[in-house]
Symmetry: C2
Subunit: 147 residues, 2 copies
DNA sequence: GCAGATTGTTGGATATTAGAACTGTTTCTA
DNA sequence: TAGAAACAGTTCTAATATCCAACAATCTGC
């Protein structure tokens, strides 16, 4: 799919198509924004979760991230290779790994957050602040998130 | 990605993530809704375009659909195999193919349209009619469509 | 009539994902 | 307390999508 040009009519009139198109474009461009750091969106998500819950196990990360178990293995493998996170033995259950951020992981996460903020600013530039808030509210409702 | 449960916090608070999640879920579920007809979303899009511009060539379909040329070949191949469309020699340029709908293609498109309408109704059920319209307006603006 | 552009096609290289099967560990239960 | 079942993590495979470069046939402009 090409995201460099606005979608042509009559596609651009259908709410469902607009949703898909904007969503895929956002995902695609966010991935590009993250690339200079050597990260992909799942890495960013998992780093964020580890920072919020240090020492949690992989199953908890799976539950909180919508990433399936076998992909989670690959994501954490890559974070370890990059020196951003590490698996440690879980204190009370030898089946589990306690996943922690390294010092470098903390610094990289900070940089990634700045990238994400900058990206959001750029992505939602066509809308005013109140429009972004309206959009957010409608999307939450559509996603079935209780508020 | 799992779409059977609402996204967990803090992801569900980020407009960019909400956009991606809803967009991918919509695309995914629309594909599932279309599946009983033996079609995937690109087939539906291309059928719609052929119906709107009978006899157009593949390049025009590419320009109007955001599908890249080599994928377009595959889509039209499959539509021909299903007996829904056909390539005919272009009257004035032997490089081009004039793409037409068959009678069966017209009937299948009609059924697919009904599926799409039903799908939209179901997808946007959590929102009121005016909310859907607001969402549509904001997404158009975000996509850069002139209005 | 020749050079370069256009149209459709093919093949390959690549990334991404989902799923089944497997190991080691823990928990339940009779 | 032994055996069965459940669980955490991992590995491997297969299906999928996607993009890109190269190619033949044809057309257009000089």
């Amino acid at each position: 799919m090409r995201f460099d040009v606005p979608p042509p009519e009559p596609l651009a009139s259908a709410p469902g198509f607009l949703l898909s198109w904007n969503g895929q474009r956002t995902a695609h461009e966010f991935a590009a924004a993250l690339e200079p750091l050597g990260l992909r969106p799942p890495h960013f998500g998992v780093l964020t979760l580890i920072a919020a819950h240090p020492g949690c196990n992989q199953q908890q990360l799976v539950d909180r991230s919508l990433i399936d178990p076998s992909s989670m293995v690959a994501v954490i493998d890559e974070l370890e290779e990059l020196g951003l996170a590490e698996r440690r033995p879980h204190p009370s259950d030898r089946r589990k790994h306690a996943v922690h951020l390294t010092a470098r992981g903390g610094r990289t996460l900070q940089k990634a957050r700045e990238v994400a903020i900058e990206f959001a600013k750029r992505t939602f530039a066509p809308l005013s602040a109140s429009e972004v808030e309206t959009l957010r509210r409608l999307l939450r409702k559509l996603a079935g998130v209780e508020s």
